[in-house]
């Protein structure tokens, strides 16, 4: 009996020690060289072959491929972007395995259309994916909205209006699609239209990341408007005094503004010596067209705050 316990104790100790050693050795081997290029590898590139090989369990495999797509996109994005060359094949396989996996079309189109390093910068594939989604799920208005958004991003306001209009004609559609179709046809490139688009995304999406992204775009639009207005006032100050103001306090004294202007994050705007109005913490305000401090290099991965 005692001998048996001894054997159990020794075997148990050896087992634990061996497993811990094996794990440590694996880490040591991993640290020897660069990580294996697993993420850049697609073992089977044919969607039809993958579908055949999964023996009818295509739903689960689609979920796995979608998760892999998200991880691939997130991993590439966090490493500063790149070509995202596997993004389209992964999305194609995912949607071939499960043609009704709506998140893959919705998010996939967003990932594909965004300009590098934020995304793949491949609007043609984004349009192809959104159209494939519509073909497989013709009654889902979200996909028409996504297609319209991709066209809008490409400044193709006529096709964007068409996509929104077709989506607005579906039963159970969201009423704003009709408004968007009209807005797109009349005022495609205006800031108000952009504000409405992102506002609609913020209101209709339940996903935290998408909502945070929409909120960041809305803040960027607000900054664009603020900076345009403030720079007009700076020009007025210069016309009046012959020089640019060094601080906003000088503009307050001149009666042009009532207080120190704040950006949507609550930080004060800054003035550069050439009269440019810029945000003070640009990292907190991604997607800006105006108000970017001179010499600022944006991070590859935009800083997003949860939408309230």
């Amino acid at each position: 009996m005692i001998r048996s316990r001894q054997v159990t104790a020794i075997a148990g100790t050896v087992l634990v020690c061996s497993m811990v050693s094996a794990a440590l050795l694996t880490r040591a081997v991993d640290n020897l060289g660069p990580a294996a290029p697993l993420q850049q590898m697609l073992y089977i590139s044919s969607p039809k072959l993958v579908k055949r090989l999964c023996l009818g369990y295509d739903g689960l495999l689609a979920d796995i491929y979608w998760t892999r797509t998200v991880q691939y996109f997130g991993g590439t994005h966090s490493q500063g972007g790149g070509t995202y060359k596997l993004l389209w094949p992964l999305l194609n396989i995912t949607t071939e395995l499960d043609p009704h996996l709506i998140p893959a079309y919705e998010f996939g189109a967003t990932f594909l259309v965004a300009k590098p390093p934020q995304g793949a910068g491949n609007p043609q594939k984004a349009i192809e994916l959104a159209r494939k989604g519509i073909q497989n799920n013709p009654d889902d208005w979200h996909l028409y909205y996504d297609l319209g958004f991709v066209y809008y991003d490409q400044k193709d306001y006529r096709d964007a209006a068409g996509a929104f209009l077709r989506g607005s004609q579906l039963p159970n559609t969201h009423p704003f699609l009709k408004i968007m179709a009209a807005q797109m046809a009349q005022h495609g490139g205006e800031l108000d239209t952009a504000r409405m688009m992102w506002g609609a995304t913020l209101q209709t999406s339940h996903d935290g990341l998408i909502r945070a992204n929409a909120a960041a775009h809305l803040r960027a639009i607000q900054v664009d408007e603020d900076v345009s207005l403030l720079e007009e006032l700076v020009e007025k100050y210069r016309d009046k005094t012959g020089h640019y103001p060094a601080t906003f306090s000088e503009m307050i004294s001149a009666g042009l503004i009532k207080g120190i202007p704040l950006d949507p994050m609550g930080h004060p705007y800054s003035l550069e010596s050439n009269g440019r109005v810029v945000v003070s913490i640009p990292d907190d305000l991604p997607f800006l067209d105006k108000g970017i401090p001179s010499g600022y290099v944006p991070h590859a991965a935009p800083k997003l705050f949860p939408a309230g």
Binding site: R52, G56, Y57, T67, V70, Q71, D207
Partner: protein
């Protein structure tokens, strides 16, 4: 069911439980818990889909493995242990032995599926906090999975009645794989001509039609399963299993057990 078949079925069930078959439920529970917790963190908007897809796929694969690996030993183990001679020396006919084994293993798989279904619904409740009316489709998918088990049990028993366990396992597994391509096989057969067409069509209809019994992806998206499909699949599984069991009885009746 006559009492002799019932007794053999009960003993087969007990034996499976004694063989710790239901231990797979622990693995299944861990898998579902991990999926429910982890997927939300590594993917986007598919938590519910993953729980349904992974849950039903795991129920299906766990059951198929159990059906094959227990089914192939149902006859050969009794011969190896020489317990078959004791059973058959009593007033038990060979077909009753086969039928009892079939019902015993099928019953084990139904019980196993019942507990795994509780796990699937538990994980679903954890992830989505509520059920929707279309979730009734999950029960239909589970029912179809049970029908798969019934057919595979019959096939494993059939092979077990004349072959060694290892070959029985290979045959049963390959028939499962080929049966998953049943729809494609029929399509290929339709593309041929003449005698080849007859032979190919015959082969395509001979293999079990597992492709029609898999509605997992469909129910995961909340799509309804047609009533006609439920009725036809039920009849198909019963008729096909009956045919395979009849073949098993025919072989076993003629088998020289000395």
């Amino acid at each position: 069911m006559n009492s002799r078949v019932f007794h053999i079925a009960t003993n087969t069930f007990r034996e499976a439980v004694r063989d710790r078959v239901l231990y797979n439920l622990i693995g299944f529970a861990l898998l579902m818990s991990a999926a429910a917790v982890l997927v939300g963190q590594v993917s986007i908007q598919i938590e519910r889909l993953v729980v349904i897809n992974l849950g039903l796929t795991a129920v299906s694969l766990f059951g198929i493995v159990i059906a094959i690996f227990i089914g192939i030993g149902l006859v050969s183990k009794e011969i190896d242990k020489r317990t078959l001679y004791t059973v058959l020396s009593r007033p038990v006919r060979r077909w009753e032995f086969i039928a009892g084994k079939f019902f015993g293993l099928s019953g084990t798989l139904v019980v196993n599926t019942f507990f795994m279904a509780i796990g699937v619904f538990g994980a679903l409740a954890y992830v989505s906090h509520h059920f929707v009316s279309s979730d009734i489709g999950i029960l239909v998918a589970l029912y179809f999975i049970v029908l798969q088990f019934v057919i595979i049990t019959a096939l494993a028993l059939f092979f077990s009645s004349f072959s060694t366990p290892i070959f029985s396992a290979i045959f049963a597994f390959w028939l499962f794989v080929i049966g998953s391509f049943a729809q494609d096989l029929r399509n290929f057969a339709a593309m041929t001509h003449g005698v080849t067409r007859w032979l190919a069509t015959g082969a395509a209809y001979l293999v079990p039609n597992f492709s029609a019994l898999n509605v997992i992806t469909q129910v995961a998206h909340g799509e309804p399963v047609p009533h006609d499909l439920i009725v036809l699949n039920t009849i198909y599984a019963l008729v096909y299993s009956m045919a395979v069991l009849s073949a098993a009885v025919l072989i076993f009746e003629r088998r020289n057990l000395k």
